[in-house]
């Protein structure tokens, strides 16, 4: 159950982009990045593989993925059974931190 994303930024790499979230419905076995990409009509490389395919409502077979490619978002947004793009806003603590 322990999951630690390999997202630690190293010097010289571009800062993380938020991307956007897309939803889709799928029945049966849990979708993979490849099957999610097919459902959305985009290349698998348009999806954030670290984020993966996340169940958000298993009873309804609803999943979400994070899409980093804006052009891909435009194509998938018009497909039947696909929801989004949904925002992926910045969030912050509701109190002081040592950095503020």
């Amino acid at each position: 159950m322990k999951r630690t994303a390999k997202r630690t930024r190293t010097a010289g790499t571009a800062p993380r982009k938020p991307g956007v979230l897309m939803t889709f419905e799928a029945k049966g076995t849990a979708p993979t990045i490849q099957s999610a990409a097919r459902k959305l009509g985009v290349a698998p490389t348009a999806l954030d593989a670290d984020f993966g395919v996340l169940a958000i409502d298993p009873d309804r077979g609803m999943f979400t993925v994070r899409v980093m490619d804006e052009a891909a978002v435009q194509r998938s947004a018009v497909r039947t059974g696909v929801g989004g793009p949904f925002s992926n806003p910045r969030i912050a603590p509701f109190g002081r931190t040592r950095s503020r």
């Binding site: 999951r3 630690t4 994303a5 409502d57 992926n88 912050a92």
Partner: protein
């Protein structure tokens, strides 16, 4: 009988014009002698510079209020109470007759006292909070969080700091998710450690889950921000646990404490966009919140720090409709903040929730701004609705020790807590503290837990 301080309108004449011009030149000098049109009984203050004014009762004209051109000036003086009563009566008659009043009160003024919580420095301390929550009575009946997991969605927990405060925290390092590496329980002491401490006030034997979702690499943000997708991933981990049969879960109940959110609408898609987060129950994060709640998790969110009296600077002055997104979700308990004196802190976001989400937000209030974890140094307060949220999460965890969700679903427990909350007025809900300040001991008694 004491004299009354008054402000008096007098006609222009050299003595007052010179006084006003001296003030404009940076020198303070009262009228050299009593103005001719000074009402009877007024003793003029020779140290108070005359102030040019545009004619009272007419549209103000800036040019006419200059020291050089004004036809009227205000001077300060004193008069006996008897003379003041007479002058007041004459002023009323003058106004009734369409003429200008000349004598006005010069009341004492002072700074407005800051709203509670608007200044640094703690109000009360952990023992006060524990007493108000009834922690002793709850613990005496075994309501201490044993077997209950409290997931702290924040900046990470530092167990060593918690131990240094005399706590004996239990943390399950196997259940975690981080966007930026690190080890559960070994993050730098910061906001997340404060939240963990506050949750343990009422549930000292709860098992902590460390989800440092706010350790971000967000461009433009601080090092203590994150993306909503980080929270989404963490929730995915918890949902996978809740999908298991109850006997195979590593907890009897799960409480999720969220002391975070969006500070300003500009962080989101524009208003009206169908993919917006703030007011959209169909946003993936709001969907997974509903799923988790339906699966048995008690989910608490801080109301936010955009209260009207002293909002956080990141609110950028937006203090209405500031409870948004999952913080205004109908399936979560939205927590406002009060001091241990039961006064709402001025930064606690006020309801109602944003249109499109639940209206009656916040739901409840809990304590904040007290001397607790000292995560930010000695004598610093645990503040923000960030503190109120885990304080209440700990109280929920305490009740859950003997009240699994199979007996009382999260939505029903929320209702029971609201029913027993201490209200500040006759209305059942108000925009400041929701249904009132939480009284977990009263709820425990009513439900037969103590």
């Amino acid at each position: 009988m004491a004299d009354v301080r008054v402000l008096v309108v007098v006609d222009a004449e050299p003595t007052v014009r010179h006084s006003a011009m001296a003030l404009a030149a940076g020198r303070s000098a009262g009228p050299g002698k009593a103005p001719r049109t000074l009402p009877e009984g007024v003793k003029v203050d020779r140290k108070f510079s005359a102030v040019p004014i545009s004619r009272i009762g007419f549209s103000p004209q800036l040019a006419m209020a200059s020291a050089a051109k004004s036809r009227q000036f205000v001077v300060r003086g004193t008069m006996s109470e008897e003379a003041f009563k007479k002058a007041t009566a004459e002023s009323r008659q003058a106004e009734a007759a369409g003429r200008q009043a000349k004598v006005f009160a010069d009341p004492r003024i002072s700074t407005f006292p800051s709203a509670p919580g608007c200044t640094a420095g703690p109000v009360g301390s952990t023992p006060d909070v524990a007493q108000l929550l009834g922690v002793g009575a709850l613990a005496a009946k075994g309501l201490d969080g044993t077997g209950v997991a409290v997931a702290v969605m924040d900046t990470g927990i530092n167990l060593a700091h918690l131990r240094s405060k005399g706590l004996k925290p239990v943390l399950d390092a196997k259940v975690t998710w981080s966007p930026a590496g690190g080890k559960p329980g070994k993050y730098p002491t910061d906001h997340g450690t404060m939240c963990a401490y506050d949750a343990l006030i009422a549930a000292p034997k709860a098992t902590l889950y460390d989800f440092p979702i706010l350790l971000s690499t967000t461009p433009g943000g601080s090092s203590m921000d994150g993306f909503l997708s980080d929270a989404l991933q963490a929730y995915g981990v918890l949902l996978a646990l809740l999908q298991k049969p109850a006997a195979k879960r590593p907890f009897s109940s799960l409480v999720i404490s969220n002391s975070w959110g969006m500070y300003h609408p500009s962080w989101d898609f524009p208003k009206g966009h169908p993919g917006r987060y703030a007011d959209n129950p169909n946003h993936p994060f709001n969907v997974i919140v509903a799923t988790l709640a339906r699966s048995g998790a008690d989910i608490l969110f801080a109301a936010g720090n955009c209260g009207a009296e002293c909002p956080d600077g990141r609110c950028e002055g937006v203090v209405k409709q500031s409870i948004t997104g999952a913080n205004a979700h109908p399936d979560v308990i939205t927590v406002a903040g009060t001091t241990v004196k039961r006064q709402r802190v001025g930064y606690s976001s006020q309801g109602p929730g944003i249109k499109g989400m639940a209206h009656a937000k916040p739901d409840l209030a809990a304590y904040t701004h007290f001397l607790g974890s000292e995560a930010f140094g000695a004598n610093t307060e645990d503040g923000g609705t960030s503190t109120a949220c885990p304080v209440l999460a700990g109280a929920v965890a305490a009740l859950r020790t003997k009240l699994p969700e199979a007996k009382l679903a999260p939505r029903d427990l929320s209702r029971e807590l609201r029913a027993d909350a201490r209200r500040s007025g006759t209305a059942s809900w108000n925009r400041n503290t929701g249904y009132g300040i939480v009284e977990p001991l009263a709820t425990a008694k009513r439900l037969g837990l103590v």
